[in-house]
Symmetry: C2
Subunit: 198 residues, 2 copies
DNA sequence: ACTATGTGAGACATCAACGTATCATCTCTG
DNA sequence: CAGAGATGATACGTTGATGTCTCACATAGT
């Protein structure tokens, strides 16, 4: 399912260039969404013409970035075995993997772009896997049985974002961050016992 | 401290226009950061020339938006008496107020702009008040004593963002959202509360 | 009612980003 | 090695956002 149906196999050379452009673009656009295509090309070490040869327009570039990023995230999630490993284990593993991958796609994955069909398919897959994992956690008694999972999901996403930020800024260890995310998700940041105030 | 040192008092008429431009700009830029000044002007019901008269450039507009938004947030926080009310009460009240205000400044408050001196002053005030509130919560035993407050702070911000999103999308009741934010912040979404054994 | 101030409409100039095309040169792939 | 493919450099045309200016008209504030 990876690249079985490619009509024209791209030259290895070119593929590297494409990847370089995509990652560089995310990096620059993350700092400033109005970054010029020329700036992106220069930073990627290619001529502006080359960038235009690959991506007919800015939109096309962002679309490609989105597809690439979502694909990587999907793979990262899948590598955590969210459907089979014990919920707590899967939760940690998936979290760690996603933190690593998402750190490289901070712009692409944060702004909600118009979403083509290819993109929304990938997004649905991610959402589905996430909800599946949370549901399994729920069945295992980690989450209250009657809870609507959308709030936990949003919370999980938000905590992931924090962790990704920390990861990118301070190079904090991924596993430590994953642990903090999972712990905070399940237990919050408060003290365990309800204290008699004062 | 509001407008004591204004050299030329703006006409009431004009002030309304200014406000309208600022809020409209946030709304449109939130949907698409590349929105044209002309689109903003049109949506605000003014001529493009008028917008240019008020704000010499796009940068100046965003700067003004930022100052305005941060000022409102500051007031919203202050209205929750974060320094004097009982921590849990203040936490809820501040949260509710901020949700309401921030809902109207989703673009401005989400992108980290270059930060002028005026802006960073306001940001510092906000950060300070937030940390002050969390520290009081910590002293009251709501947070573990030895914890570094930066993670709770980030978590709080993130949960606020979720709530604001919900508020803007589904018109969910502010107090309900504030409650959910505070509860999630302190307890997480897991089933941990009354489960001493098993 | 009078005046300073704000506004809309439109014309105008500018400029940077974008997109395309060409050609010489290089590099992969078989 | 040979040819197909990829790239860099450069030039060119187009477009749209931006910023400025003018003038007639409206509106607020007194």
């Amino acid at each position: 399912m990876t690249e079985s149906a490619t009509p024209r196999p791209q030259r290895a050379d070119a593929e590297r260039t494409t990847r370089k452009i995509l990652t560089t673009a995310d990096q620059l656009l993350g700092q400033d969404p109005t970054t010029t295509l020329e700036q992106i090309a220069t930073a990627a070490g290619v001529a502006r013409a080359t960038l235009h040869r690959r991506f007919t327009s800015r939109e096309a570039l962002i679309e490609a970035m989105t597809v690439s990023a979502l694909t990587h995230v999907n793979e990262a999630i899948e590598a955590g075995r969210p459907g089979t490993a014990p919920p707590l284990v899967a939760l940690h593993q998936v979290t760690a993997n996603v933190i690593d991958v998402k750190s490289g796609w901070r712009f692409t994955l944060n702004h909600t772009h118009p979403a083509s069909d290819a993109v929304s398919t990938l997004q649905d897959q991610i959402t589905h896997r996430c909800l599946q994992l949370l549901a399994r956690a729920q069945q295992a008694g980690l989450l209250p049985a009657e809870t609507d999972l959308s709030w936990p999901q949003r919370t999980y996403y938000a905590l992931l974002d924090i962790a990704i930020h920390e990861h990118a800024e301070h190079d904090t260890n991924t596993d430590e961050l994953a642990d903090r995310v999972v712990t905070t998700l399940l237990n919050g940041v408060g003290t365990r016992v309800q204290q008699p105030s004062q």
